[in-house]
Symmetry: C2
Subunit: 134 residues, 2 copies
Amino acid sequence: MATLLTIGDAAKASGLSAKMIRHYEQSGLLRRSPRTDAGYRLYNSEQINQLRFIRQARSLGFSLHDIQSLLELWQDPRRESRAVKQLAQQHLNEITSKIAELQHMQQVMTELADSCRGDGSPHCHILQQLAKPN
Amino acid sequence: MATLLTIGDAAKASGLSAKMIRHYEQSGLLRRSPRTDAGYRLYNSEQINQLRFIRQARSLGFSLHDIQSLLELWQDPRRESRAVKQLAQQHLNEITSKIAELQHMQQVMTELADSCRGDGSPHCHILQQLAKPN
DNA sequence: GTTAAACCTTACCATTATGGCAAGGTCAAA
DNA sequence: TTTGACCTTGCCATAATGGTAAGGTTTAAC
């Protein structure tokens, strides 16, 4: 039984918002979905799987652009896993860079926060540091 | 000697782009700067210091919204360092959250990447995992 | 059978920080 | 005077998501 879901139910089933599902369709990530006579979008289980795929990839931080590639690879029986792994590795590298950047901020911010009394006096090492010419 | 710089030189002196300096002015972060008769913006050393302050706060990841507060505190001789520290601590918490989130992605992505052969075969654990109903 | 709630549709606006481009004015040096 | 390097404003774009508004549809209750 090809159960067809409207967008609200598809959203619940996939964990995405209806708003985003429409957006993905409009930006070419998803094919234009079949409609009822009234124009309501309808989703079958295959499409729900695709939505879940997108949600999981998003939760790993993949961009929609990368997800488009991942979807194409997923649906291509002649793909080479090399291509998938390369995308994954690139994304991993970006994640690692961002972590490093944030950790640097974290370190400096921790030092700054520790060096500020945080009381009723105006003296504040944080502001002093930010104001330093450097 | 109150040396006055045009926006390009102010940009070089502060490490910001001219575009962003204009944007900061337009969004209310900076007071509208004095102009020449021809309408060119002019910056004195105090304003250059303010620009540097902004750049350093940006490099620590503070939002422009927070920077507005920091600038106000900086310029208020009756500030309480408590207020500054609170902003810093909040920002630090956000950084820490983002790091945690990214580290989670990093861990999952590492496992996924490791589980993919990355060769010419179509078999790919990464795609399998993304496609899993979960 | 009508009505009301809960859906759905599209379209537009907002966010955040930054960059690009275009059309045009200004200034300085050759 | 011309030219190149500036400056101006204004508009558009990015990425992913949310909000709102105006209006059509479906379903359940009365």
